[in-house]
């Protein structure tokens, strides 16, 4: 079971916090902070899990999600989506687009850890 997480997020302090958390939990964390080329970066990095911010410079996280679900090799990739916008519509749209887990900022560290563990456990199941 891979422990490679790709974090797509533009807020430096949040990147630092998540990287700190996951690294301590034993994950390899790679980061990227621009939406424009996010899909290519993900396909190139082939992570076990993607943490995707909704509001990204250049391209919306929602578009990136839809693109990923349309590509066979990333169709089942576990994706944890984060958003700072407090709108329920975003959650519905994300779920329809095939998000694996949706979380609203500010999150608790434990939540993020649990989510990442669960998603990877599910993905590794045959």
């Amino acid at each position: 079971m891979g422990r490679h997480v790709l974090l797509i997020e533009d807020e430096p302090n949040i990147i630092e916090a998540i990287r700190f958390l996951l690294t301590r939990d034993g994950w390899a964390v790679e980061t990227h902070s621009d939406g424009t080329d996010a899909v290519e970066v993900i396909r190139a990095a082939e992570p076990d899990l993607v943490i995707l911010d909704l509001m990204l410079p250049g391209r919306s996280g929602m578009d990136i999600l839809r693109d990923l679900r349309g590509i066979p090799e990333t169709a089942k990739l576990p994706i944890l989506m984060l958003t700072a916008r407090g709108q329920s519509r975003d959650r519905e749209m994300a779920e329809r687009a095939g998000v694996s887990r949706f979380m609203t900022k500010p999150f608790s560290n434990a939540e993020v850890l649990t989510a990442v563990r669960d998603l990877l456990a599910q993905a590794s199941r045959p």
Partner: protein, 892 residues
């Protein structure tokens, strides 16, 4: 010698005959067997009430005094009858089609059914005719006196006989003039009696004439010699008087209430006028034939001082011809009674309809609800009016003492009545004549007539001698017989000239200046154009009507279903097979009512009239249709206006709704942005504080790092909240500005220091000291806030290796222009439009702000009366602040 008793017996017998004739004629008329009563002969004879006692007795007196001038009295009506019969025909046609009851009614009806005008004409008629009635009473009395003088055995009381005569005439007029209320106001009994009297007076005068010519003068030839020898034959013709009196008698023939009564109101058939046009002049010719011989012989054989007015009576008496005298007396009696009866009837109709009834109706208060008892009230008021008019005549006779010559009273009455003429003629032939014009003309003419003729004639009692001599208020040109200084005219000529001229002139002038009411217009059109459309009966005769056409039209108006139902029901009611009923008059009337509910009464009438073809569409119908159409047009234009208004309101609502929706979306977007900007630092704070709490064994440096981030993010939150509040205050316009005087350079100094304090990357600020020394009046703290923002932005975003910011100050009129230009890469052109919007940040911008800074700058500059813009093509980021030197917006 004829005894007075004998005379009284004959007189009573004659009156009884009149009563019988009148009664029989009424009975015949009531049974509908009155064809001979409606003959043109009766009509022509009834016109002879023009010849009153004044003509019967007075013409001889007139001839004895003024020669042939008496002919003018006959000349006027003859000219009217022969030369103006078409005018009379128009009068008769209008009188019949409008159901006119009197001349006052005609004038009132023509001028928009104005009762004021009717009252004026009525008063004028009463004032003009009352002396005339008393004249008739006087003539009867005089003739009685002649007989009583000749009969020493008789004890004759003059006063009581007049009273008796007056009362008897009143009874006759009441009995036959007000027996019932006929719609057509025709009185066959009275007319027949009048016709009989016309025959009697003609026969009497002819008999006396024949006796005088052949009995006393010995034939025509010797008579002619006597005439030539008489002073009458040599008298000069006074052309002014002739013209004036001819005109007066012509006018009076048309305007006198009694003439109007027999000529128009009692007319049964317009065609009778054709006969009367030659027969009546003939009658008058016969009446005048022997006037001169009688006068000449009378002057010859009668003692000097004998009243020439009574020659007709006194000549036979002096020759012992009692039978002839009796006949002559009956002729005079007939002349007087027929005139009084018809005049009283005509006047009573006017007084009752235009004065008594309006007063009675308005005193009742509930005028609209009276019904059955009105007929009785009308009859009663007519009867009382007749009695009152005869009483008036009687009292006038008593007061005036019966002194004045008969002819002069007659002429004065003529001149008064003639004042109606302009309004009447104008009304018949000129559509432009108006009510106001008629009223003013009438009143002016009446006043002038009263002042110049009536009052002077009534004697010194009514008009002081000083007025007659020196004029009113001593003004010479107001003398009654020499108005405006025109002296030396005969009083009659003078009065007629002034009153008629001013009456007609003012009538025309005021008519031209005033505006007729719609009703006046309508009535005017009907009067002037009375021959253009037939005044046929209003009911329908559906013989040529096409039921199918009616059906088609009804469907268009009522709708197919309702129209078919209506026709079906009617067909069943008529027992006709199929669904089309016979176009019976009843059905047509019902259909017209039904259609009127949809399209208006006039239109419905015109439409059915078109299809049925039995009645042409009259001007009145067309006018009414036009009125209805105008109302509908107005209604539809009102609807249109309402609809335009509605659609405008709807558009406004839609716009407001769009605006609200937009505002709502903006608000949602804003809240979403605020939420994002708040949650982002919160996320960092929560994450790092949990790390601090949960993770054991953190190194000291890591702990410090966490704390620093938490601290920075807390500050970021605070800044965000401050900016939001600031922006909210600025946008709502509730910001209070603290306007002060200061020097621009000091504000820039302060801003530069504040913006660069604690900055990690160095920014070189280059100040070009061009106009920095300018003195400003503004809110210097807010201005500094803008400058700090701009300098801090340059400090944060300028990506040059050695970042520089150039601050340049220029003056442009009353404005100071401050440019902030750095040497970085600037703002991409696609973003330049939006950088002043809230929460807009450049791509890849990582540096702390929420994107409110420039939005706040823009708001502040607007409040300060200036602006802040981005300058393109300056290499790096370039902002320009424009500010008025002395703020004029301090009050805002």
């Amino acid at each position: 010698m004829a005894s007075l008793n004998m005379l009284v017996v004959v007189c009573l017998g004659y009156v009884a005959l009149l009563f019988f004739v009148a009664f029989a004629a009424d009975r015949l008329a009531a049974r509908g067997r009155s064809t001979w009563l409606r003959s043109p002969l009766i009509y022509t004879l009834s016109l002879s009430i023009y010849c009153t006692a004044w003509t019967f007795y007075g013409a001889v007196g007139y001839a004895a005094r003024s020669g042939l001038e008496f002919v003018t009295i006959y000349l006027g009506p003859t000219l009217v009858m022969v030369g103006w019969w078409w005018g009379l025909r128009k009068l008769v046609r209008i009188g019949r089609s409008q159901r006119v009851t009197s001349i006052a009614d005609l004038i009132s009806s023509r001028y928009g059914k104005s009762n004021t005008l009717a009252i004026c004409v009525t008063l004028l008629a009463v004032i003009g005719v009352t002396p005339y009635i008393s004249l008739q009473l006087q003539s009867i009395t005089l003739s009685f006196t002649i007989f009583s003088d000749a009969d020493p055995t008789a004890a004759y009381a003059e006063g009581s006989s007049v009273l008796l005569v007056a009362a008897g005439l009143a009874v006759f007029a009441i009995l036959f003039g007000t027996r019932n209320l006929d719609v057509n106001e025709r009185h066959h009994g009275v007319v027949t009696a009048v016709a009989l009297e016309a025959v009697v007076k003609l026969l009497a005068l002819l008999a006396v004439g024949v006796y005088v010519v052949w009995g006393l003068s010995g034939g025509v030839d010797s008579m002619m010699e006597r005439i030539d020898a008489s002073p009458i034959g040599t008298w000069q013709v006074h052309s002014g008087r002739w013209a004036a009196i001819t005109f007066l008698s012509a006018a009076a023939f048309v305007c006198l209430p009694r003439m109007f009564q027999v000529m128009v109101v009692e007319n049964d058939d317009e065609r009778h006028l054709r006969t009367a046009a030659w027969a009546f002049p003939l009658y008058m010719l016969l009446m005048s034939l022997f006037v001169v011989p009688i006068a000449v012989v009378g002057l010859d054989i009668m003692p000097p001082g004998e009243n020439p007015d009574l020659f007709v009576l006194t000549i036979p008496l002096s020759q012992g011809r009692e039978g002839l005298a009796m006949l002559s007396f009956l002729g005079g009696f007939s002349s007087a009674t027929s005139m009084v009866i018809v005049a009283a009837m005509a006047l009573s109709t006017m007084v009752s309809n235009h004065i008594v009834m309006p007063i009675w109706l308005s005193s009742r208060g509930d005028g609209a609800s009276v019904s059955g008892d009105v007929r009785n009230v009308v009859l009663l008021s007519r009867r009382v009016s007749i009695a009152a008019i005869l009483a008036l005549g009687y009292f006038y006779y008593r007061l005036s003492g019966g002194g004045a010559a008969l002819a002069s009273i007659g002429l004065i009455a003529f001149a008064g009545i003639a004042q109606i003429l302009p309004a009447l003629i104008g009304g018949l032939f000129w559509r432009g004549a108006t009510r106001t014009g008629a009223l003013v003309g009438l009143v002016v003419g009446f006043v002038l007539w009263a002042y110049t003729l009536l009052l002077p004639a009534l004697g010194a009692g009514l008009l002081p001698q000083s007025v007659l001599q020196d004029g009113l208020f001593g003004v010479a040109w107001l003398r009654p017989h020499a108005l405006f200084g025109i002296d030396g005219l005969d009083p009659i000529v003078h009065s007629v000239m002034w009153s008629m001229m001013l009456n007609a002139t003012i009538f025309c002038a005021v008519s031209l200046a005033s505006f007729p009411s719609p009703l006046e217009r309508l009535q005017g059109a009907q009067f002037v154009n009375v021959f253009d459309h037939s005044a046929g009966p209003r009911g329908w005769t559906g013989s040529v009507a096409q039921s199918e056409d009616l059906m088609i039209m009804s469907q268009r108006i009522l709708g197919a279903g309702q129209a078919q139902d209506l026709f079906q029901r009617e067909a069943e009611a008529q027992g006709v097979r199929g669904h089309l009923p016979e176009p019976t008059p009843a059905f047509l009337e019902m259909l017209e009512r039904e259609l009127a509910g949809s399209v208006g009464a006039a239109t419905a009438h015109a439409m059915i009239g078109q299809i049925v073809g039995g009645s042409s569409v009259s001007v009145e119908d067309l006018l009414a249709v036009a009125d209805e159409s105008a109302q509908m047009l107005e209604y539809s234009s009102q609807l249109e206006a309402k609809s335009v208004e509605l659609s405008r309101t709807a558009r406004k609502l839609r716009e407001a709704n769009e605006k609200l929706t937009q505002l709502s979306m903006q608000k949602d977007a804003f809240l979403s942005q605020v939420s994002h900007e708040l949650r982002t630092p919160m996320t960092s704070i929560r994450a790092f504080s949990e790390i601090l709490r949960d993770a054991d064994g953190l190194e000291a440096a890591e702990q410090t790092r966490c704390a620093t981030i938490i601290h920075d993010e807390a500050l970021r939150l605070t800044r965000l909240l401050n900016d939001l509040l600031d922006l909210s205050v600025l946008e709502s316009g509730q910001v209070s500005l603290n306007m002060r005087y200061g020097v621009l350079s000091e504000v820039l100094d302060h801003a530069e220091a504040a913006a660069l304090a604690g900055a990690d990357t160095p920014l070189k600020v280059i100040r070009e000291w061009g106009g920095e020394a300018v003195q400003l009046q503004s809110d210097l703290d807010r201005l500094a806030q803008v400058f700090i923002n701009l300098i801090a932005n340059a400090q944060k975003y300028c990506n040059a290796e050695q970042p520089e910011l150039r601050i340049r100050v220029q003056m442009a009129g009353h404005q100071v222009v401050i440019d902030f230009i750095d040497n970085g890469r600037g703002i991409p052109s696609e973003a330049q439009d939006t950088i002043f919007e809230k929460f807009v940040r450049l791509r890849g911008e990582k540096v702390g702000g929420a994107g409110l800074g420039l939005a706040i700058c823009r708001e502040i500059m607007q409040r300060l009366g200036g602006n802040v813009t981005y300058l393109t093509d300056h290499g790096g980021g370039a902002f320009r602040v424009v500010l008025p030197v002395a703020s004029r917006i301090a009050a805002q």
